[in-house]
Symmetry: C2
Subunit: 474 residues, 2 copies
């Protein structure tokens, strides 16, 4: 294992705060044509509750969506913190030059049409200008930009009728890909799950994943950093920042382009060098990054890391009222690389005294199909109190006639007495989904599939182990 | 590879039709106590639209839920096709004896409390009686029994307000576990997915998985057989029947107890001998069984096998309007063991002529974020027509402003011109879920996650390969 305590060359976080909490914003390319990107972005600013001031820049219109339009950003009187640029690619250098002259602190270039489609000359030209003006920070091009629920700041070009936004929370998300960014925002809106800061940074011609990681590592309210990456612009810089950040908060990464075939496709996407799967796997492990193998895992890991305490080890106790469901969960737990906990005889006997003889008190604890709330309460309490148990998976067939309506409330109470991770699992239709929602509202994390829950617990456990092994060294 | 064409010792299917289409049914243990199993089963018969005659047997009541109750099944005048037994375990032998004397054709013993909790004497006693009367077929004990939507036949003891039932269709499902059975019924009700025949058969003291497989292999309207198994009662019999059945229709199995730890737990569950993971893996492969590694895959495989044609090979073309989403799907396809298709230059040029230069026509075909319906139609048509493409994965970011409302309809039309498997992938909130539902209604199979879709296509492809390798031999 590499020395994770090494000091690192920091990311460049200069002026990045203007990306996430600007007071004065100009939308260059704000449009009155419904359905266009420039329309939606400007509309989202006007109607989305953004607290700062927003200006429309459009050389061809006197007004856009009822607001005065400026011919150029230079015509605006006041200072501008952030310019959001949605003009055709070939006009971007001109607009960028005006932003520099206006002393704009940060620029988000939404426009596509650069290296990702092989536009070499235009890309080179813009890159040179960006490099010459390090004080004007640039996100993009080829991105959907920033979303910060706290400030109702939202530069993504999706209509709210089509794409919902998540609520305020403590997960931040970096995405090289705009599509993956949009998908995760939309999905997260359906979950008991909140976002702190979201960035889709596209081609990373200035601000890259390492800079953003550095910035988020210092953002106190970001509890978990999640990311979709195809490649790091500067591998060493990324690694150094990631390993330091991991000691402070978890980083979950879904790496796109891990197979040779997908790797080849990334070149024509964000134009980044994706790097071999083996290299990334080693880098991620040494940096303490929790690696998600797919979208399902990315979501699961983020949810768990945001909400659950870290386990002391990897021993899992399973409690179920469905025998087969418990068997499937056992397979999932073992396959994920976790261990089945062995509860002490004392605690097992304590359960046995309070439940019928038909209950199997082992691992899984099978409360059987006629389980009532009491059996769950008794078992969960004993499992949480047992020194041989690090995490608990509680499985519910909510549909049985014997489970009373006080189930969710009672279990949420028991869950609070302990700092061990607990996840609940069930799947079904409306009734079951409602019960799961109720659980999440009371702070019990839920999953539909044992395999996904088990992988997520393994991610949590891996991160806890990284901290145990590395924190004391530094 | 073993000789799959071998003649086999058949399963015992005598009188099994009375389980699935009885005319006269007696519920022994029908109850008036709301919340009890005997109440719910009887109520589901009375109110569920069952077309035959149903009798209540309850020695302690003159009437149950407003219907005359008989002291014993022997007191009923007419013949009885099926008895559903929900009495305490210790009374089951007595009730079974009465069923035999009444010449009942089939008995479903819902009651638990036999080998699964170590009740040796009672189990031995019942087993002896069952063995002596081979004409009275028994499902169970320790099960939830039968569900046949076509006849509104439903012996499961779940209230409909808690657990929904799937509609009529062509998938049949066998489950050793009642819990897994209940979960799959409930989940299936939320899908564009129909059931033909469902059996939860529990401890399998008479009718076992092999008998049921044999029966379903002959059931013309069953297109796909799915199963949750912990172990086969008679391995050789199961293998022989499975391999013959696989040549007629696909069998998808989720095997519970594949890890040593879970294997140990199965003994205390249905009392079956689960067998080692390696043995089952070999048996499944040789028998052409599509093996699901988890619940998520079981659902995905069943959905795909019910609806999609079989592919001629394993080459997949990906079409997307989100670059990153396409990369993730490429990783998923390659990791699942499928190949990326290489479309002919002719077909690629045909697409290029009809789309903007920004579109990458490769694999994935990246239609880019401003894709309209036409780009999808043109690409899907070309991919389906290409001899180098066996299956197509179409990814949608439905939320972009440029995708018109005619998308689903137009693609469903294109899909119909070809007999290649096509799956659509997207994930999001309400708007996206609605689009996916619309697609499924028009016969386009959808998934939320590329990893799940890819694994399901691999299952489809494996089954197609099994048929290619074995059908000609027989």
């Amino acid at each position: 294992m590499a020395n994770v305590c090494a000091t690192h060359t920091g990311g460049n976080t200069k002026n990045l705060e203007y990306l996430f909490s600007p007071k004065e914003v100009a939308i260059v390319g704000a449009s009155g044509n419904k359905g266009s990107v420039g329309f939606t972005i400007f509309e989202n600013f006007l109607k989305g509750g953004f607290g700062g001031r927003v200006y429309a820049v459009n050389p061809n219109r006197a007004a856009v969506q009822g607001k005065k339009a400026y011919k150029s950003i230079l015509d605006i009187k006041g200072k501008i913190d952030l310019a959001v640029v949605v003009v055709p690619a070939k006009l971007v250098p001109l607009v960028y030059d005006q932003c520099v002259r206006k002393k704009v602190k940060a620029v988000i270039v939404i426009s596509a049409g650069f290296s990702e489609i092989g536009e070499k000359k235009l890309t080179r030209n813009l890159q040179r200008m960006i490099d010459e003006h390090p004080n004007t920070r640039v996100v993009g091009p080829n991105c959907i930009g920033i979303f910060v629920p706290e400030h109702n700041l939202d530069t993504s070009f999706f209509e709210k009728s089509r794409m919902k936004r998540p609520r305020k929370g403590s997960v931040s998300f970096l995405s090289q890909s705009g599509a993956m960014g949009a998908v995760i925002l939309d999905w997260a809106s359906t979950q008991e799950f909140g976002f702190r800061k979201f960035v889709s940074y596209g081609n990373a011609m200035d601000v890259d994943e390492a800079d953003l990681l550095e910035y988020l590592s210092k953002d106190r309210k970001t509890k978990v950093i999640t990311a979709y990456l195809e490649g790091a612009k500067e591998g060493r810089k990324f690694f150094n920042i990631a390993k330091r950040t991991s000691l402070k908060k978890p980083i979950v990464v879904l790496k796109g382009g891990v197979t040779d075939e997908a790797h080849a496709a990334t070149a024509s996407h964000t134009g980044s060098l994706a790097g071999s799967a083996e290299v990334y796997e080693a880098v991620f492990r040494q940096a303490g990054i929790v690696r998600a193998d797919n979208l399902l895992e990315l979501f699961a890991f983020a949810k768990l890391l945001e909400n659950e305490p870290l386990p002391k080890g990897n021993r899992v106790q399973i409690i179920t009222n469905g025998g087969g469901f418990g068997i499937v969960a056992t397979d999932a737990v073992v396959r994920a690389g976790l261990q089945l906990a062995k509860m002490s005889n004392k605690n097992k006997e304590a359960i046995k005294k309070k439940v019928p003889d038909t209950v199997t008190v082992n691992n899984p604890i099978d409360l059987t199909g006629d389980a009532d709330v009491k059996r769950y309460v008794v078992s969960l309490k004993a499992a949480l109190a047992d020194d041989n148990v690090d995490m608990v998976v509680v499985i519910f067939l909510f549909t049985t006639p014997t489970l009373g309506s006080d189930l969710v409330r009672e279990l949420a109470k028991v869950r609070k007495i302990s700092k061990k991770p607990v996840v609940a699992i069930s799947i079904g239709s409306k009734y079951t989904e409602k019960k799961l929602k109720d659980m999440e509202k009371l702070g019990l994390i839920t999953f539909n599939y044992p395999s996904v829950a088990a992988r997520a617990l393994k991610g949590l456990s891996n991160y806890a182990q990284f901290l145990r092994e590395n924190k004391k060294k530094c």
